[in-house]
Symmetry: C2
Subunit: 309 residues, 2 copies
């Protein structure tokens, strides 16, 4: 669905701000708590919390993260799920979200209503209250940025730091072909998996794969180590190449390293009991430079998604 309307009467601008905000409240429904805990004051008030928190922000932008082929309700859901994937990567659970919208005045009310309904349905499913937001106007733009607050699901937060030479490298799901297969908006954020992995002592470092494994793996690789990946082991989407699995991006899977001393068979059995429907693949390990077995993938031959290009 195209976000812009040719008929002024169908545009957000024709409605004006007051009606639009009333519409947003209606579309969000129970996904947005009552003021001051939701939309309608200078800030949203969040109920008392304890302990460490997690904070992340990610946008969806027309022409970049979605186009006319993506249903507006899926755009709204994708916006929240992208952020949930970041939270999953640290072993977190969502607490609350705020939304900053930037819209051209010609955006159609129907498009916006479906966007919000999709966001609201996803927010209810993952129990994330949408507590506030802002709407601003900019010509030619349909962009939404969501900030997600969360808390650790258990006692431990897993960061990108902490991997060591010798660690095994694992990835969830399959990689590549995210656009072609519509996975880029139909994916399920790995929240339960991330929380479970954060509870496993052997899991040393973790992140989500969003810009392509070839690029993202660099962030997990410590100094004095290189990756030794087996190309045959890479879990590819049906019909996809190794290059696609490494470079396409928008996989929203988890990649993590497992300490070498961890009993791998036992770890994998526990995983299958916990997540019988989520594929888990050991794709290689971290080794010292020069220790790569013959036939290992050279990640420098592949590129991930480059922003600002």
């Amino acid at each position: 669905m195209h976000p812009f309307t040719k008929h002024f009467s169908d545009s957000v601008s024709a409605w004006g701000e007051e009606k639009l905000i009333a519409g947003i409240r209606r579309w969000l429904g129970t996904a947005s708590p009552r003021s001051p805990f939701g939309i309608g004051d200078d800030c949203a008030v969040l109920p008392a919390a304890r302990g460490r928190q997690l904070l992340t922000v990610d946008p969806v932008i027309y022409g970049r993260h979605f186009d006319d082929t993506v249903p507006p309700c899926a755009v709204g859901a994708k916006l929240l799920k992208r952020n949930l994937s970041d939270l999953a990567a640290m072993g977190g659970r969502p607490t609350a979200a705020v939304l900053a919208l930037t819209l051209d005045a010609r955006v159609s009310r129907q498009w916006l209503a479906e966007f919000y309904r999709g966001l609201a349905a996803c927010a209810r499913h993952y129990r994330v209250p949408i507590v506030g937001g802002d709407i601003a106007q900019a010509d030619g733009v349909v962009a939404a940025s969501l900030t997600l607050l969360g808390r650790p699901a258990g006692p431990r937060i897993v960061t990108r730091t902490g991997a060591r030479p010798g660690d095994w490298i694992y990835v969830t799901g399959v990689l590549g072909g995210s656009r072609r297969s519509r996975h880029h908006y139909q994916f399920t954020p790995r929240l339960a998996e991330g929380a479970w992995l954060a509870g496993q002592r052997g899991v040393r470092a973790m992140m989500d794969v969003s810009d392509g494994l070839a690029k993202d793996l660099h962030s997990l690789t410590p100094r004095g180590a290189v990756t030794a990946l087996d190309p045959a082991a890479l879990p590819r989407r049906a019909g996809g190449t190794v290059a696609a699995a490494l470079s396409d991006g928008e996989d929203y899977e988890l990649v993590f390293t497992l300490a070498a001393r961890t009993p791998r068979a036992e770890f994998e059995r526990s995983w299958r009991r916990a997540f019988p429907r989520t594929r888990l693949t050991c794709i290689g390990r971290l080794v010292r430079p020069g220790d790569q077995p013959a036939g290992s993938l050279n990640l420098d031959d592949y590129r991930g998604y480059e922003h600002l290009r």
Copy 2:
């Protein structure tokens, strides 16, 4: 300063993502803590906190909130100060901020460096760590959206709800002419004043004036009450009209109501002791419909800033 460069070599795009992120770290300097408490992981980790929190989001957009006449460092500072003003309006103090940038590939590195340096200086001044963010590309756009997390400065949060007929209406500073006078980016958010006011029992409801008093006051006015404002009492910026004071917007002042039974002279003396340099004006009161004295301003004759127009 114009945000776009004609020379590719000076653009953010020529630098590429990796160098750009390294630049952002450098420009932010001590305003951004080390990972995982700052930029560099899937989420930022926030140190343990207790009690209720406040959350707000506001953007700055090229062509809307700034133009070529505003120095980029002032754009960065304005972005944070707009959000601090929302926090001030509830009696809050800042805890942490994240930033979502949406940039055209032709934005100049010099513009962006000065934007970040201005943001960083402001963040250090108000002790707000910039803990994370995101950069995305969109053609023709220079937009930044900041989400600010805070906590109440004292035991009480003041909302927009709670005013009653008979309450006095007060406003800080002077109103109107915000663009002309450069106040729209040179203002000081009323954080200390907001925290002090939240500690005064007589203060019943509060908000910041951002879309013009004529529009914003509606949010403070409860059912069964109307405003009775004395046009002569309105604190106007030098050379400004009553209409400008009511409609211009971007005042970033506080408006609040004071319970009728509060000893006003004593309240105002305490204010002057606490804030000898911040003007405070009683501009009228809330009355029952029909009880407006002759000569009262009719707010319906004025409009505030309408978004999406």
